[in-house]
Symmetry: C2
Subunit: 113 residues, 2 copies
């Protein structure tokens, strides 16, 4: 099933922060990991991710460092800052509020008042 891309709007940052909350990762890895954990429901595009990571770094939500892979290739890893961790907590709360509001609308039927 392919989901409407606009549904993802607004939750992408939260998902990225969550990945980094679990462990440091490099960009390409985040794309693969998101696809894997979501059973390929999500396929975040590189053109979305890299600018987003730069913005998060400018905002102090994440830090980056370069590191060689086994094959001597350089990868740019990101790690979550304290500020990013706090942002994640806020966004998870917003997410809960949001889905419960949507579900309330979906469950509400005709009013037999």
């Amino acid at each position: 099933m392919t989901i409407n891309k606009s549904l993802l709007t607004g939750s992408t940052t939260m998902l990225i922060l969550k990945l980094l909350d679990d462990q440091d990762m490099y960009g390409y890895q985040m794309i693969e990991e998101l696809a894997k954990r979501s059973d390929h429901t999500f396929s975040l595009k590189a053109g979305t991710l890299y600018p987003l990571l730069h913005t998060l770094e400018d905002q102090g939500m994440v830090r980056s460092y370069e590191r060689n892979a086994d094959n001597a290739r350089v990868r740019k890893y990101y790690s979550l800052t304290k500020k990013g961790d706090e942002m994640l907590a806020e966004q998870k709360q917003e997410w809960k509020t949001y889905i419960s509001a949507v579900n309330q609308v979906l469950q509400g039927g005709v009013n037999f008042a």
Copy 2:
């Protein structure tokens, strides 16, 4: 709690169709009903709703008719078409897929493989 407006992106149409699935409504009423059912988490803006209703009508998802209120004021009511009902079913399925994917990412922790 105020949720990020971008979280709503993509689910607005589904919510409108759901309201009309329950009963015919006019635009202003939809805005109030969405706020009420979501405990004021949602405050859909008129500038979003009215153009959206026009688009849905052009697409054959809803039909409209004018009707006098008790005070003789004219209101524009909308009703769901068969096509709109089918679209709602699809969007509800997409919604389920989407939230379960997000929740899977949020629950997934470090991989101790």
